[in-house]
């Protein structure tokens, strides 16, 4: 059959019904209020009854009144003619932007904390709506920590792992701040990794060279150097920032080195409030 204009959506329609527990009475209560008896079809023992005053029954509101009492052995039910129940499942791809309210998002409950990495967002992928995990928009795993007290008695010319112990934050519990002092992101990706070491030769004109390293899986992949061979110093803060691609089990550590003129020990300076020697990293998104 042809239509003028769009073909109407088709669906099945059903009517609300009510079955009654019968007894020797003429008065029953309807589940839904009606204006009059013509809004229901009443069946007793499967025989439809005639509505109207002076006929088989009348109804108003939720009151149903029979002209003769039923018996407990009777069966009785009614159909609410004016109360159609209809459920329409929209056709695939039939909900367009114009049908969506502007409060589609703002009308929903707000998430009151940072989304979990597996929470999902909707995104238009070249015009096609897709869902995507929140983790792709989060610069985590991430951490930042600093040395809360001096790391002392470090050997001349030795490259020493910094025992960075005080965490400012550790999103994902990816930094070991008490044993191995290492960052293990556990999630493959590209990471910005940084660090600094305020190191002292403990005497003036005693610092020949100061270095800071970032180690990956036990080997250096980044180094920053201050060289004072022609004019010795005492204290320096070499800093370093690198970008690296990690797999799911790589780990990173911060090392520092100081060469003294007098072959004596050196130390990395730490403080509980002033960040002097620190180490951090975060995942880079969008690359």
């Amino acid at each position: 059959m042809a239509y003028i204009g769009p073909e109407p959506a088709e669906s099945f329609t059903s009517f609300a019904t009510q079955e009654f527990s019968t007894s020797a009475t003429t008065s029953y209560t309807l589940d839904h209020a009606v204006a009059n008896e013509n809004e229901i079809a009443l069946f007793v023992n499967n025989v439809r009854q005639q509505p109207g005053s002076g006929k088989a029954y009348t109804a108003t509101g939720t009151a149903l009144t029979l002209s003769a009492a039923t018996a407990s052995t009777d069966t009785m039910y009614c159909v609410f003619l004016g109360r159609a129940l209809q459920t329409v499942t929209p056709a695939t791809n039939s909900i367009t932007a114009a049908m969506v309210g502007n409060d589609l998002i703002s009308g929903k409950d707000a998430l009151t904390s940072a989304p979990a990495s597996t929470d999902e967002l909707l995104i238009s992928d070249a015009g096609t709506i897709k869902r995507i995990d929140a983790q792709f928009f989060q610069s985590t795993p991430a951490f930042h920590a600093f040395l809360s007290a001096d790391q002392d008695s470090l050997s001349d010319a030795a490259t020493v792992k910094m025992q960075i112990n005080s965490e400012t934050y550790d999103s994902g519990t990816v930094y070991d701040n008490s044993s191995n002092y290492r960052f293990t992101p556990g999630v493959a990706g590209k990471y910005f990794i940084y660090g600094a070491a305020l190191i002292s030769s403990a005497a003036s004109a005693n610092l020949r060279e100061a270095e800071v390293y970032i180690y990956k899986n036990g080997s250096s992949i980044g180094k920053s150097t201050f060289n004072y061979v022609d004019q010795y110093s005492q204290v320096a803060t070499p800093t370093i920032s690198i970008v690296d691609v990690a797999d799911d089990n790589d780990y990173y550590e911060l090392y520092a080195q100081l060469n003294t003129q007098n072959s004596g020990n050196w130390k990395a300076l730490g403080d509980s409030t002033q960040q002097r020697t620190y180490f951090g990293a975060y995942k880079i998104i969008g690359v």
Partner: protein, 111 residues
């Protein structure tokens, strides 16, 4: 106790070799902060084998002396003052300069 770097330096000098540490050095000493102390991570002194523990231990006394003398040298250098000031001092009164330098040395003797 002499540092590992000092003992390596003496070992190399005894074998007429030059060692250097740091960014362009030929020996890398590392300490993983695990309580094991510093160790030789890489050895790159051409023509000389990496020293054994006993070889390094044999330089303990000499190493202590070297480090003590290094401290003396550093003290002396600080007391000598700026080289430009010393040249001016020499120009004005070389004998007074010599006397001042001698006193610094006498007050800070090497072992």
């Amino acid at each position: 106790m002499a540092s590992l770097a000092t003992k390596i330096k003496l070992y190399c000098e005894a074998n007429s070799k030059t060692v250097s540490f740091g960014s362009e050095g030929n020996v890398h000493i590392q300490d993983d902060s695990n309580g094991q102390g510093p160790y030789i991570k890489t050895w790159g002194v051409s023509g000389l084998d990496k020293p054994t523990d006993s070889q390094l231990a044999s330089y303990e006394t000499a190493g202590n002396t070297e480090e003590s003398n290094n401290a003396v040298r550093a003290t002396r250098k600080k007391l000598y003052g700026d080289i430009g000031d010393q040249l001016d001092e020499i120009y004005k009164d070389i004998d007074a300069w010599k006397a001042r330098i001698k006193k610094i040395k006498d007050d800070n003797p090497k072992e």
